[in-house]
Point group: C2
Chain length 425, copies 2
């Protein structure tokens, strides 16, 4: 008997069933019946979610390890014990007003791939693993992607365990122990996977806008976050002529419009966002004394990102000099862009095309565990569309057909990497 | 014996002494020893301040009346009982972080004028009155200038008494009664003054900036306050390309820069201020869903103010259409400009010039009781410089020489209006 590996498909009802079941833990209902999720890292709900997924792993016969920072890996053995596993995975923690797909899809999509292999009795040369990493969202502990960062040796374990929660000040190591997930397996991991593939919702509007089913992720944008404190001179809105004003609100406005113009002029993947802006004293008839604001710049190209940063800095300096305000800049975060392995990206692209799906090669604008794994092994990601581009939102949604398409691509990519062993051969 | 009326001057030490004494009630000390004042309308401290000033009025032999909304008028009789009084005055309530000059100077400057007349035994044909009006600041009860508004018949007494405090919800009429200032004199006043003159600090930087001692106030700017609610589409700062954004923060920025450009282009007295601006959800990596902001437009000319309003509205509509956001406009306040009586303005101007002071004809950018009195009698104001343009600030300050100059102009203007009677004639 031979199996037509290329014809294998996941069971979408089973995958949706697991997404729904996991989403019930920490479930949040929206005003219009949206089913969101609030399952923050290392909370009691996170424990329940972790327990549920480990139960499924064991049902599938996976060998489960929990490492010292709480990362969980379930391994299906391969025919050749000397080979490193092909790993799938993501995270199952959510933000406070999160959805049921962000992260969860990559983990449960991985389980669905394993179950499909099991169902067809299909063995592989490489082991196949499914992982979920601790505290990807960063909603409770900073930095985000902490678990995968420690997993690849990018952050010392001791430092990670000493991180304090933003909400209640709890120590990460204590919370891990409290929920029973301070595991015995060493972290960083002893060996790197053979490859890593993460299925994820896009969390943006591009695929839907262009009518594309599969995003072939080429890498992750570099991120530059700056907080500005602009100090001017508070003044009476009625009695202070325009020429005598030193108005930080005006400067904030020019910066907001200016970084948008920079992004528009640079084009490509360059984006610029002013997401936070606070006036002080924030009164209708008072020219503000101070404005704090943030500027988020991203590009897939480090050189271009630095160019955007220089233009932004020049803009701040020019406006400060013209208006007489002071503009203090503080870096909140800075990550270089990540480029995924070209052969891995091509494999995702070719596989999706073979399965008949429309594709778009695109960078990820958000951070993902995959960018950490890319430090130690060939890595790629598969994106599926997010309805209305929504994520980190209880209205986050991806339809069953798109979920199926993404999971099928994941399955076929993993089959290609893990080298199936035909039972008849 | 004749008196050289034109040579009469106030006693600046006496005036400063009264300002200091009244400023001790509700005194607030700043971090650098600034002596500010928090004496909100109809609080216990307001009662103590009112009592102190009435004591001074009685010491000077004035006949004191308290009306039904708590306005207090002290009258020095004139030689001709058929004539209406020449009235000076202002208010003695302050904002929460107020100074010792705003309002108080107009009242205590009036008392100083009366004391100077008394000291020299100088009688006048018209009675001379000093008034302080209830709740000018609007810091506790809305609207501001409430007492003078009711005094001139611009608001029904019953409506005013039913106003609730912004802080504790107390009813104005109850608070008046509680502090013993629900007086027996009818309000609105039975008859209009012969004229009204208000001495006040500028509360802005113009006089100091131009090195001028006396501001000859030509009127009060019209005010147009609008609250905007700009609704866009919240989106991920990394995953949402610039072309797919519907960003209310960007629109708020363009409006902020745009109304400034409108004011600059229109020139003259036109000012435009964005004092309040709030982003929601206000997160570094999220394109905001909603921004609320305020726009404060002022001009001395109603026609020009309407022009500014039309340009502002057009700006909002254009930006809303271009970006795809909705911009809701809500009028928070709208007052037409007030022009003071030309002969009164000329009298202040000529008097200040005769006394050797530099002068500038200027509108008031802030509201004052004088604009209410202008509805019923010839009215003008005398401005003296505010150090650093500061007001509604515990660092509010005006030097003794400027106080003296202003009070001398007030004295001479009142003498001219009240027609002195030479004892020898």
């Amino acid at each position: 008997m031979t199996i037509d590996h290329g014809a294998l498909r996941v069971d979408i009802d089973r995958l949706v069933g697991r997404l729904d079941a996991l989403g019930e833990i920490g479930a949040v209902l929206g005003p219009e019946g949206e089913r969101g999720c609030a399952r923050l890292a290392l909370t009691d709900d996170d424990r329940l979610g972790r327990d549920l997924v480990i139960g499924w792993m064991r049902d599938l016969g996976l060998s489960v390890t929990i490492d010292a920072v709480g990362n969980v890996v379930g391994v299906r053995s391969g025919e050749d014990p000397s080979l490193a596993p092909v790993m799938m995975g993501s995270h199952i923690d959510t933000v406070r007003t999160g959805g049921r797909f962000d992260g969860n899809l990559g983990v449960l999509g991985g389980l669905e791939v394993v179950e499909t292999l099991e169902q067809h009795g299909l063995r592989t040369q490489h082991p196949v693993a499914v992982a979920y990493f601790t505290n990807e969202e960063g909603a409770r502990f900073q930095p985000d992607m902490l678990g995968s960062l420690v997993y690849v040796g990018g952050m010392a374990l001791e430092e990670a365990l000493d991180v304090r929660a933003a909400d209640d000040g709890a120590r990460l190591g204590d919370e891990l122990a409290r929920i029973g997930y301070a595991g015995p397996t060493p972290c960083p991991a002893a060996g790197a996977p053979h490859a890593f593939v993460e299925l994820h919702i896009e969390q943006g509007p591009v695929l839907e806008d262009e009518g594309i089913t599969i995003g072939v992720v080429t890498g992750v944008q570099g991120i530059s976050w700056t907080e500005l404190t602009i100090t001017g001179r508070s003044a009476h809105a009625g009695t202070t002529p325009m020429r005598l004003r030193v108005d930080p609100g005006y400067v904030a406005a020019e910066i907001t419009a200016g970084v948008r113009a920079i992004a528009r002029q640079m084009g490509g993947s360059q984006v610029a966002t002013v997401g936070r802006c606070e006036f002080s004293p924030n009164l209708v008839n008072v020219v503000p004394a101070k404005v704090t604001m943030t500027v988020d710049l991203r590009n897939t190209d480090e050189h271009l990102l630095q160019q955007a940063e220089r233009r932004f800095e020049h803009l701040c300096e020019t406006l400060a000099a013209d208006e007489g305000v002071t503009v203090e800049r503080r870096t909140l975060a800075r990550f270089e862009p990540v480029e995924f392995d070209e052969r891995m990206v091509d494999l995702v692209h070719a596989t999706a095309t073979r399965l008949g799906h429309s594709t778009l090669r695109m960078p990820s604008g958000a951070g993902h565990d995959a960018q950490m794994l890319a430090r130690v092994c060939p890595t790629s990601m598969v994106f599926v569309p997010s309805v209305n581009g929504l994520s980190h939102n209880i209205a986050e949604f991806t339809g069953a057909a798109d979920l199926q398409a993404g999971a099928d691509v994941l399955l076929q990519v993993v089959l290609e990497l893990a080298r199936p062993v035909d039972p008849a051969v």
